[in-house]
């Protein structure tokens, strides 16, 4: 069976810079697929291109068997993809509660249940419900961004470097929460923190200079010192 999300030879430009040259990968349902690669390799651009925030200039993107390349962003999101951008995309002038409300497509029982579940996962959000997004700590912003993507019944979550800039203890908390979400939804995780990536991930793809150069099972990568050193600078 074909994966939930499949990219084939995707190319993309930012302005006139050719950033993605050949991105091909497949995300099996129910798993966490990790995108690894150095800074500037094109991981963020890949997620933005999936979301329609960047144009696909060549290649195909299909989600649940349907071509989604170059649809508008809201259409893509409404197919069932939740997105946690690298900068978290918190609406700073809105409170935590208002941020959640903008995200919630429905206010039915199921959505409320998901909301309760995610607030139990991140009690800080409940505690600071009326606080403005701009006043949250980096970790709280990350939690809010994840909660916002989770609250709708999405089939896929795209999460961009959730550990970035966070204290180790908060990284553990975020890691644990993504591990719990993993039970319920498919995830594509961009992550530089190898500890986190290896704990959560089932499969990995390595992106280098806009090309998916290597992939496999996460367990195998841990043993593959050569690849780790060559593409990730980890020895």
């Amino acid at each position: 069976m074909e994966g939930l999300l499949v990219l084939k030879q995707v190319e993309a430009f930012i302005q006139h810079y050719h950033i993605l040259h050949d991105i091909s990968f497949e995300v099996p349902k129910g798993e966490v697929t990790v995108l690894l690669g150095r800074n500037g390799a094109g991981k963020t651009t890949t997620l933005r291109t999936i979301m329609g925030l960047n144009q696909v200039s060549k290649g195909t993107v299909s989600f649940k068997g349907e071509a989604i390349a170059n649809r508008t962003t809201h259409q893509i999101a409404n197919k069932g993809i939740g997105y946690v951008p690298e900068d978290q995309g918190i609406f700073n002038g809105l409170t935590v509660g208002e941020n959640m409300r903008v995200a919630m497509k429905k206010e039915d029982e199921e959505t409320m249940k998901r909301m309760e579940w995610v607030l139990e996962l991140f009690p800080d959000l409940k505690k600071y419900w009326k606080k403005e997004g701009g006043q949250l700590s980096g970790g709280q912003k990350q939690m809010l961004a994840i909660a916002r993507a989770y609250v709708n019944k999405n089939d896929l979550l795209l999460i961009d470097e959730p550990s970035k800039g966070l204290a180790p203890i908060i990284v553990d908390k975020v890691t644990e929460s993504i591990q719990q979400m993993k039970e319920q939804t498919t995830i594509v995780l961009v992550e530089q923190n190898f500890m986190m990536a290896s704990k959560i991930g089932n499969r990995f793809y390595i992106i280098d200079d806009g090309v998916t150069v290597h992939h496999g099972k996460m367990d195998e990568l841990k043993e593959d010192k050569i690849t780790m050193k060559k593409y990730l600078g980890i020895s």
Binding site: M51, L53, T72, T73, H74, A77, N78, Y83, P85, G89, F91, N92, G93, L94, E98, N99, R101, V102, A103, K105, E132, G134, R148, N152
Partner: protein
């Protein structure tokens, strides 16, 4: 003292009319970063249509409704045909909306004739009443009350309803709003239409306030609305109220004490704000 009070009331009434005009413009800029110089065209079309219906039907209420409807419709047309093709390009926006502004202005002359028209308030809003020695002109109080009600209503919608939150979120981070599955273009069209409706309403109210309407008011009020939006902070709704009242009061006092400056005072205020607080008095959090 009486003089001060009546100047303040003048200033507040002028300020409220300017606020109705600028409120839509500031949201349009904040949401889609569109520079719309046709906004004054919606204002005069509201004024002329409203006055025409008012004078035909002898009902001010019908005039108001007609003005709002023409504003909503013209807003729809302006957004779809004029603004949508030039998203993201400010120079093109200025040129095409300014051009459209002039078209709207000339069309007024074609449809309603080139002469200026006198307008009088309906009986129930004419005249004044006295409190002690102070003369309170009914129509001005009416404008202040309606303006405040609209501000309160709009604020409640922006703060409490989901669509209001989406509009504010869109001003802060458009991409994220889209990533949450919201059709920002549709939201923008709605905001544009409501903004146009408010500008047209401002036109209807203003026609009676000044007692006369003429086609060239379009460009004058386009520029005035921009000045107010810049002073208030582009994209800030409360900022537009504050700035509009500031401009209204400055105009009222200058007209009395330094008449020679009463037209230049808006520009002057804008220059001062731009020097000391280039982001405007109120700033929208990104």
């Amino acid at each position: 003292m009486d003089l001060i009070i009546s100047l303040v009331i003048n200033g507040l009434a002028t300020g409220m009319l300017i606020f109705l005009l600028a409120a839509g413009l500031t949201l349009i800029f904040g949401l889609m970063s569109v520079l719309n110089f046709a906004h004054g065209g919606l204002f005069i079309w509201g004024a002329y249509t409203g006055v025409w219906v008012y004078q035909m039907s002898n009902s001010f209420i019908l005039g108001i409704i007609a003005g709002i409807i023409i504003g909503l419709l013209l807003g729809l047309v302006t957004e779809r045909l004029i603004v949508r093709p030039v998203y993201g390009n400010h120079i093109q926006q200025i040129l095409i909306t300014l051009g459209f502004m002039l078209v709207l202005q000339e069309m007024i002359k074609v449809v309603f004739g080139p002469d200026q028209k006198a307008v009088f308030p309906p009986e129930y809003l004419a005249g004044s009443f006295m409190i002690g020695d102070i003369v309170l002109i009914k129509y001005r109080l009416f404008i202040i009350v309606i303006g405040l009600l609209i501000f309160i209503l709009a604020t409640i919608i922006l703060k409490k309803s989901r669509i209001g939150l989406i509009v504010r979120a869109g001003v802060m981070d458009k991409e994220m709003v889209q990533s949450l599955g919201i059709n920002i273009k549709l939201v923008f069209m709605l905001v544009f239409m409501v903004g146009a409706g408010l500008a047209a309403l401002s036109g209807v109210f203003h026609s009676i306030y000044s007692g006369v309407i003429y086609a060239e008011m379009g460009l004058e009020f386009s520029i005035l609305a921009f000045i107010v939006v810049v002073i208030g902070g582009m994209g800030s709704f409360s900022g537009s109220l504050f700035a509009a009242i500031l401009v209204g009061l400055a105009q009222a006092f200058m007209a009395y004490y330094v008449p020679a400056l009463s037209l230049a005072v808006n520009m002057l205020l804008m220059v001062i704000v731009l020097i000391f607080r280039p982001q405007g008095l109120f700033q929208v959090k990104e």
